[in-house]
Symmetry: C2
Subunit: 649 residues, 2 copies
């Protein structure tokens, strides 16, 4: 079908490193058939993808590619949306590619093909492709590397083409992407413009394209972009060059900083380059950045990026829960980075953070109906804020409500592509067996390099329930190793196999056996609600606790409070009266209840009283209430509300 | 000299209401001759004003008014700076007008006259005056009311003209302002454009111009602008219409919201209008907004505006100390508003807040040398950040260092005009006597309506020392009343007069006597360091205390810490080991010392540990240190540093 050779299109995997301890298992090898994520995937397919397609068309962003709009009046008018609008189409195309592979939906397949034709029509003869620049009356090509996002759009186009290639094979989209990639190598190669894009993502796009085509020059170009950054080639701007990571070379940096999504995409591309080139120094540098960022600049939810103003990481331990920014796309970028580091190292800490980001950022963004989205994911909403109506795109990233669409609409398709490809983040293999990183309901079937066939089903009501049952279904005679990730919070986890129960500790629990078909491995994880504190340097949550349930961060939402009780006038008892698990028909059911005391803070003319002691409510009214806690990701599904994750004690 | 009648130019007062319980005393009646504020005024005159003049010229913002620049190439090029650059010239002119009145500096007087000529040359025949709009190749007049700032610039021009009129009399600047005001009334009057400016200040400018000219139509136009706001006439923008207070009519609002400076300027104009028109409903509405804002949306320093992104107030009790925005100009706006409410009500709580903002926001902005400025005034700086070098204007409002100049340079001239006119905020008079609101070193001399002459000198080393000595110098035979503001924090204050000591309580202490020349009234205010807590709903400072000394908020700065001790790893003992006052030769001397414990928070891979209790440092190293505390306003004068106001206990 295509004249371009496409490697490895069977697996359906977002990231395919040339080497590394773990080999990712893709959509061809892992299925999600039930439980939490199957529900989310179904909503993604049935509601979110059509919703995105509707808005992309309605906004005129798809029509930007049509010849009459592209070269229309010649006065630059007629381009709809922001300078990065093309990228939203590409992210939708990537999501559609994964979804077609997951479900086989022929209508979506046809829509994707038609969309590729429409995009292809806008490509210049030399491969250049952008609807906001380089056309009559619009700014010239590459005239604004800081803010123009041309290479950024290419990066998402390449990711979409790679997804399609790995799930379907080369097609017109792939041809378009190939011409774009060649154009980029010519234009920005060693003999070309010594520039780089204000918003990284071309790096990982080119590296993946090199993997799928097995052509070195794309990787070289990716490496060149990674190396160019950090040398003040981009302009100094209001937020400083750290905003786009042009302050310090990637291999010299010790922590992620600046715009969180940019930082995470760049780090992902750097891991791709390091893995392909065997650059252990670069890999080590990014691993250090990940560790420092997780230890000092990450919300309990796994969310990253504290500032609204520049969507950036704050200084160490600046993690205010009210007005937490924690952009949805930073959650996506965090999964991208952690997954690459997991494949490169085998360290389960990366899968721990993926799980946290999946349940508490990615799952929090879409409403339960899949038709509105959080852009920012605050951990404390003080007052109910109605969202925009369903027909109005939001101009604001920051609100206590989900919006159906945004003028900057990066988040909805970013979530959609992650959910559609989620099976590819569940398990990996090595020479001796399979590593199960995420506890979905579904099945895994693959073959090890020496031909051993490994297949098992996984059943659970995780994360509401902590029991995960694995049924071996393959007929492989030889022993193989099943490795189970034991999350860091899972003190007291147990594995039962062949009638024997053994305690396992956080990290990895491995069983090497000649498993017989029908045999069961039962993992019990202690998901019951637990209290969590914070490093004392996170000033903003001093004197508070959070409650977690398995991988779920819980929250109190005003919808569950008795009349007259306000969330900002509550203190919880220090011992959690956590109830047993209450798995619910709807996701907003409480999974824990804590005892709390209702307080009545006095409204003072000046809120800074003396002497000390008045902030302990000594003289204030005090009455006990039950405070149900729901999963954080489920809040704001019952109308405008207030909410808090961190509870004063 | 002028063909325009100018009322009341002797007093030198920024605000002259037609009625109200208190009559302001201006530069002609109050002198500051020594102490804290005299030092600040000297620095303002000798360093800051020449510094601002240099930068205004260097930036090209003054040259914008010159004909060759204004009508130059005709392609719109040649305008330097942002769309509101004109306003910085006007604020500088206002500052210069006050300073000439204060010091009589003939060179500055000549500079001001020359500048007025340069400005006058740019005025159109119909009175229009703006360098960024309405000229060849530039956007048309009033084509962008949301962001164009044309009326905003007029507001500052009117304030400058009023300052000059009240200290000198009508001059060319005043003629220019008169033509601008007439143009505004024609253009935006009941028969004109039914619009309003995205940035209020024209309201108070016009109201003051009405007072100085005694012409009703300027007041009517000010009232019209106040009434027009809040009805969604301005466009919905990313930050919402609350950003420019166009969400709720002024008389319906219950709290200040949106962009803090805009909110405070608008409220000031509304008080001016309410006072002149006897609109008690409007006055009451603004007083309620002030009260709610002070009770729920104000930093301990008196600073207002928590958000960086939109420079706006946050929700109630969202007052994070790290990355507090607390814009310097909001401190100026807060003084403007509180002063107007004080004149309209006589309530000393307004003078309390003025004092707080003066010592902890206005005084914090300029460096001790008067040549660099904070734009934002954070209450917690986690890491030392070097400022830009002295030759580079900062593009960033937010930093832990002062900058010599800003691309948006509102703050330096705003501070300068406040400091130059500071004597006018010290005292007021009514029919029976004088109210002393601020404890400067200097003198007050005025005449009561019935002819009684009141004169006294004030001496003190306040705020380092709490003793204020007032010497009567007038020969008035009849009794009059001296009213002394007793700050809200001053429990235990005493007044000694004629050998008798009496305890006085926060509020006002009044003495009505036939004072004899040379008699002394001695007020002692308990300034010694005290602990301060916070409303429990201010989550961001839970478990912390602040230390205040008189009106000074204190802070710990890294410059005073032993090597190896970090501010973010310190806890203070709950009882303040406050030393006696240590008045210093330089302002960075410590005025209090508290005992603290040095802790060694463990760096964990994940900063959210369990079980609860680990955030009390139970297992961590602990060693006592002495923690000197300096006035908050004096921090960052000894090189880049970290700093915190709120101290964990």
């Amino acid at each position: 079908m295509s004249r371009h050779p496409v490697k490895d299109h069977a697996g359906g995997r977002p990231v395919v490193p040339r080497s590394g301890p773990l080999r990712p298992l893709g959509l061809g090898e892992v299925r999600i058939t039930g439980g939490f994520w199957a529900r989310r995937q179904r909503t993604n397919a049935e509601a979110t993808l059509p919703h995105i397609a509707y808005w992309l068309e309605r906004s005129g962003w798809i029509a930007n590619f049509d010849p009459d709009r592209l070269n229309g009046a010649g006065d630059g008018s007629g381009h709809a949306g922001r300078e990065f609008a093309d990228s939203e189409i590409y992210k939708f195309m990537e999501a559609a590619a994964w979804e077609v592979a997951r479900s086989g939906d022929p209508a979506l397949d046809a829509r994707l093909t038609a969309l590729a034709d429409r995009v292809a029509a806008a490509q210049d003869d030399d491969g250049y492709l952008n609807t906001a620049f380089g056309h009559p009356g619009r700014p010239p090509r590459y005239s604004d590397l800081e803010w123009g996002h041309e290479l950024y759009c290419y990066g998402h186009l390449l990711q979409a083409a790679v997804a399609r290639a790995r799930t379907h094979g080369g097609d017109r989209l792939f041809e378009v992407a190939r011409r774009v990639a060649d154009h980029v190598c010519r234009t920005f190669g060693p003999a070309g413009i010594a520039g780089l894009c204000g918003h990284p993502v071309i790096e990982t796009g080119l590296a993946e394209f090199a993997r799928v085509t097995d052509e070195q020059r794309y990787l070289d170009q990716a490496a060149l972009f990674v190396e160019r950054r950090g040398h003040a080639r981009l302009a100094d701007i209001e937020y400083g060059r750290a905003y786009y990571q042009d302050d310090v070379p990637v291999r010299s940096a010790t922590v992620l900083r600046g715009h969180a999504v940019r930082a995470l995409y760049l780090a992902s591309g750097a891991v791709d380059v390091a893995t392909e080139t065997g650059d252990t120094d670069l890999l080590r540098a990014v691993a250090t950045q990940w560790q420092t960022t997780v230890a000092r600049r990450t919300y309990l939810t796994g969310g990253m990026g504290a500032h609204h103003q520049d969507e950036s990481f704050g200084d160490d331990f600046v993690l205010p829960p009210d007005r937490a920014y924690s952009e949805t796309c930073a959650g996506v970028g965090s999964v991208m980075l952690s997954w690459r580091l997991l494949l490169a190292s085998g360290d389960p800490k990366y899968a721990d953070l993926i799980e946290r980001a999946l349940y508490n950022v990615i799952a929090a963004s879409p409403a339960l109906d899949g038709r509105s989205f959080f852009y920012a994911n605050t951990l404390h909403q003080r007052r109910p804020v109605p969202g925009p109506d369903a027909g109005t795109p939001s101009r604001r990233a920051a609100a206590g409500s989900r919006a159906p669409w945004y003028e900057v609409a990066c988040c909805p398709p970013n979530v959609a592509r992650t959910l559609a490809s989620l099976a590819a983040y569940v398990a990996t293999a090595d020479d001796e067996g399979v590593q199960l990183h995420q506890y979905i309901t579904g099945g895994v079937a693959t073959q090890l390099p020496d031909g051993r066939r490994v297949a098992f089903e996984v059943g659970s009501d995780y994360p509401y329930d902590g029991t995960v049952v694995i049924h071996v279904v393959g007929h492989e005679q030889r022993p193989w190793t099943l490795s189970l990730r034991i999350p860091a919070w899972a003190d007291g986890a147990r594995v039962i196999f062949r009638g024997e129960q053994r305690a396992v500790v956080p990290g990895v629990a491995a069983i090497t056996e000649s498993f017989r078909p029908g045999e069961e491995i039962r993992l019990t994880l202690p998901v019951a609600a637990r209290l969590t504190a914070a490093d004392p340097r996170i000033d903003a949550v001093r004197g508070c606790v959070a409650v977690e349930h398995g991988p779920l961060v819980l929250c109190a939402e005003s919808a569950d409070l008795p009349d007259g009780v306000e969330l900002d006038a509550i203190r919880v008892d220090i011992d959690p009266g956590a109830s047993d698990i209450t798995p619910g028909a709807i996701e907003t059911d409480a999974v824990a209840v804590v005892r709390a005391h209702r307080t009545a803070p006095a409204d003072r003319p000046w809120p800074y009283p003396q002497p000390v002691g008045t902030n302990t409510h000594a003289s204030e009214a005090d009455s006990a209430v039950e405070l149900p806690l729901i999963p954080y990701h489920a809040w704001a599904n019952r109308g405008p509300s207030s909410m808090r994750v961190w509870l004063p004690t």
